[in-house]
Symmetry: D2
Subunit: 135 residues, 4 copies
């Protein structure tokens, strides 16, 4: 883990997330990365659910995931993220490292765009402040 991350969440595999191959089903990595982004927002004083109630929806426009080492029953892991902005997109770089060996399990890039009352906007102040805090 030779990178610095903006936010890191310790998590653990739950058995119901494993499929008949005995490894975490791929769709659950999207759950892990989504949960990590929402916990990051909460940590910055923002709630995904409250934003939705205010008419602001952060939605995933594009996601790219490379699966490196499969996680298994009982594995603990660190879910890490960085965020930057490219045009109207908030780009989250999200990596998952298995513990205790810090083996890379997932490398993901997630592009988020904002809808205000259903219309695409170039950004919202609530999320833009995440970036100015960044340096």
């Amino acid at each position: 883990m030779n990178k610095d991350y903006r936010f890191t969440l310790p998590m653990k595999v739950r058995d119901y997330e494993c499929d008949l191959q005995g490894i975490v089903n791929n769709a659950n990595y999207q759950h892990y990365t989504e949960h990590t982004r929402h916990e990051f927002l909460l940590n910055e004083g923002m709630s995904f659910a409250e934003l939705h109630q205010q008419g602001i929806d952060a939605v995933v426009a594009r996601i790219s995931m490379s699966f490196k080492t499969p996680l298994r029953s009982r594995d603990e892991f660190l879910s890490c993220l960085n965020v930057c902005k490219e045009g109207a997109r908030y780009v989250f770089h999200q990596d998952i490292f298995r513990l205790p060996d810090h083996q890379l399990a997932l490398r993901a890039i997630v592009d988020i765009v904002c809808l205000v009352n259903g219309k695409l906007v170039v950004g919202v102040p609530e999320l833009d402040q995440l970036l100015t805090d960044d340096e």
Copy 2:
């Protein structure tokens, strides 16, 4: 299947629903029974999502499930229901039969209550009509 059912939905196991034991994870039977109730409502001209938008929420108050024969990858099955009313509760009797042998996989009883704008009510006309159609 020596009972008559009010509504029957043919379904099929999806592999991601199976867990590391190679059988459908128990929580998915709740998904199956919920989906069956919602398809039943749609078939009667009602939408769970639209009811929610009108401030009417049908919520599960109690569920009891007996797991008989585990469903596995590739199994097809029939998800069947009957409904009656007991006091303020809409009581769904829901059975799942594996195909083609009609082996009973699940026997469930699901009690639904209605909230209108968050307050418990003894029933809503939209759902009560389901019962009068019943005979």
Copy 3:
């Protein structure tokens, strides 16, 4: 919470567990209770996945759940259990309390039976020891 529990796991709602009603979808309570049982086993030195690899499958025969107060986005909660044995069944009494007000969210009774190489047995020593530790 005027009862003593054998095992208590602090958990937190993840947003993807909430459905279009804005509350935790009922099926996720089964995930919560399963995860709690498996963490309890781990805490006692047993692994559900390893038991499966040894040919021992603990499977849910019956589950009964009463939904009291719906959990929502950001809620933290305590998932608590007790276990006893009735005939061939390991009976888990599982309650979930919302934090910080300890409001009861779920009351569940889960009957587990054991299969060894696919055959029902009256119990396995690995699980029976959970009970003798109990007093």
Copy 4:
């Protein structure tokens, strides 16, 4: 839909797949694409679960998804795929179209690799035959 697809599966949104934004949660698109691949295999006489029991595991190495139009409660859709091979990777091009307007909902590229008894191989005859059938 001005492309020809190798395989097309008609599907329908289930309400429990929608999250608190009222749209299908992104992780479910991975479920949709996985289920489509497995149904495609079955249609070609191959079972994902049986392959696993024979020691052959097809695992996702990389997935890239562009989310175009969100699917909602009650939406029906077509889940379509094509497959080709690039080196050791089986590359699935998977598109989802909302019905009845054929609006593109998802565009995905999924790279699958094969493990035989846990070791990466350049391909397996069972899957390679999918390609030779292709023209």
